[in-house]
Symmetry: C2
DNA sequence: TGAACTACTTAGCCTCGCTAACTATTCCTC
DNA sequence: GAGGAATAGTTAGCGAGGCTAAGTAGTTCA
């Protein structure tokens, strides 16, 4: 059936389309209450998991340019979810960390945040979820390659 | 190590982040020659695989609102890659199909288009690619769920 | 025949990427 | 230790590509 079952080019095409569409789908399912973009949510998640970070390191992790991260962080500061601090050792750096409010929001939203996707995933078989779990790791590696 | 190894919520979080990041990465790698957005490329791909389609059906396939698809198709028309035709049976519908130029471009770009991703995929093992192939199918199903 | 519905378009907004250019700070060399 | 290069972040402004609301043209049906 498949003439070249292992051809990377063909897989690239299929994978690209699937990833882009799913990304759009996820975007369209975000919680309307907390009107934060996906990038902002992602940053909150990073700060929650890994603690305070500089703008630069957040930008690198998210694979975004510094100005974009400055803006994202600016939004979060405006909503009081994170605080900006100057690094005492290197005055050029800005260290961003979750505020108390930010912690509360992340903790509270963590469960709701993935609601749609989690609901879809719950309808798959355990084998399929396991497949996706391993695939996620690969996708993550591709994203940072 | 994993307290609940099959928990959909946890997988949702991991998968969401991986998909969104990879999607950004793919976007940043598109061919600068052919200055078409990802959406436009995707539409060309659909028309190539499935033949002429109405705006509405393209919008549905791409999970986008009709006005967005109107604009995307407009771009493609401007570049002479597709043609808009009125449906003879139902004058409200617009049927979009690839122009000769569009065919040529799709055929020619098909291989180059996925270059970056295909290159990354080529560095994986055959098993990993197989994993991703099966995952792509699942991701596609999630995207249209 | 005229009201309701449908397919698409137009107008205009918003998010969130980007680059270019600027400021502030640090580092490095003489 | 003064001065230029390098680095971190910001500001300004652009562009892609989603969206909704409202308008137009064609179709259906009472």
């Amino acid at each position: 059936m498949t003439p070249t079952p292992d051809a990377p080019a063909e897989l690239a095409s299929v994978l690209r389309i699937a990833v882009v569409r799913l990304s759009r789908r996820i975007r369209s399912e975000r919680d309307p209450e907390l009107d934060l973009g996906l990038g902002a949510l992602s940053v909150l998640g990073i700060l929650h998991r890994e603690g305070a970070q500089t703008i630069g390191s957040l930008a690198e992790t998210e694979r975004v340019r510094p100005p974009s991260m400055t803006r994202t962080v600016g939004c979060l500061v405006d909503r009081g979810l994170v605080v900006r601090n100057k690094n005492a050792d290197d005055g050029r750096q800005v260290v961003v960390e979750l505020s108390e409010e930010g912690w509360r929001v992340v903790e509270a939203e963590r469960r709701r945040r993935n609601a749609w996707l989690a609901r879809q995933l719950a309808e798959l078989t355990a084998d399929e979820r396991d497949l996706l779990r391993r695939a996620s790791d690969l996708l993550g590696r591709l994203a940072t390659a």
